[in-house]
Symmetry: C3
Subunit: 168 residues, 3 copies
């Protein structure tokens, strides 16, 4: 059974670089599964910068919603890197899908993979309580999703200033 | 002397479940000390969900302000779980009480307990600086309270995506 | 070569006290390098409180921008404590200087020091995404700077409720 690894951390904490390093140590050509869609200039710039850092060793697949489908379609010999769950959650909520049901389906899919999966997510719940209900609902859903995927993962790392800290 | 354990973490990081697990491993019937008051629908829903998860093994006491009094009144053979200090701080500030004096009194009370106490608190200071003075004052007071209670505790855990990380 | 140590953490997480404790264990009279400028009452009060806690063992230098220069000028036998990088970044951005170039220059300067340097910084990226572009740009720049200085540091600690957690 393929190992699942979750890498969490704050914004610009080095999560993606840590996850990429883990993927490159595994055998096979890694697959980068981007949940981001380039809808504005800020996001396009960020996507291009991430892609330039990765280089040609990677195959890239873009999928904003159907992570379970793309994991099944890419279950070969290389590791899959999902970057990131927080944007996926945001896409799900915008599309009116149920984050809990989708998170549970993803957790089940992880247990069924042959090749490894590394998932990047964000810590969004360590600031003061957001002053709007949507912000509170989003950070609650993100925390629940992180716990759900951490339970389904073999290893969990917290990125702190670029340093990986093993928490599971 | 009863052991004191502090469990901190962001929103929906699994703090309460970790703290409940620790309490249930200790001998005696545990006492759940809720500092939350159900003042709106969002909060009522959250309280009911937490209570349903705990089930009947627990005795529940609700106390928004006088934690020292309730610790003295419940100092029997079961562990006490205080959930959570951040709401207590918010209640204190709203009632015009001095958070530093109350925090020091709580720290002294912990040292005098016979039965163990497990306290849940929140990380609220790892986002960008809040743009209003009240938000800044609250996160500063919350950080000071967390440090004060961590000093008075034997063990301190940080919850990350549901995984407990021992920091003391 | 002087050792470099980075201490990061949220607001009021005990970062400064941990960093001061590390500096006082090292030989020589420590130098406190404050990047804060007292521009309002809230900040003045905070600076005075920090200074009162440190006492007379320390030499204090205030420098909002030229950290490389002040490190060169104070490279004697005592440790230097820079408190903090997040305010320095804020000062750089306000002065129209390039945070990446300045961060790289600081990283190079650290490698050239004879006496040790302890640097305090803040975790600002673990709340929900700020709703304004300036807030997002600041937390991104702060995260990048933290990673850059962590790479140039021998040890990195995360402060959690006053407890130091070694992450490198």
């Amino acid at each position: 059974m393929g190992k699942s690894i979750l890498v969490t951390g704050g914004a610009r904490s080095g999560k993606s670089a840590i996850a990429e390093g883990l993927a490159l140590k595994l055998p096979g050509r890694p697959v980068y599964i981007a949940t981001a869609e380039a809808r504005d200039g800020e996001m396009s710039e960020r996507i291009l910068r991430h892609r330039a850092r990765r280089g040609d060793e990677w195959r890239t697949v873009e999928e904003p919603l159907d992570l379970v489908g793309v994991l099944q379609a890419t279950d070969g010999d290389g590791a899959r890197l999902v970057d990131c769950l927080t944007l996926w959650l945001s896409n799900l909520m915008e599309a009116g899908q149920d984050p809990v049901a989708e998170g549970e389906a993803l957790a089940r899919a992880l247990a069924a993979q042959r090749a490894p999966v590394i998932l990047v997510t964000n810590e969004v719940g360590s600031g003061i309580v957001p002053d709007n209900a949507l912000g509170r609902a989003f950070r609650d859903a993100a925390g629940e999703l992180n716990q759900m995927i951490a339970r389904a993962s073999d290893d969990v790392y917290l990125a702190v200033s670029g340093c990986p800290l093993k928490v599971k």
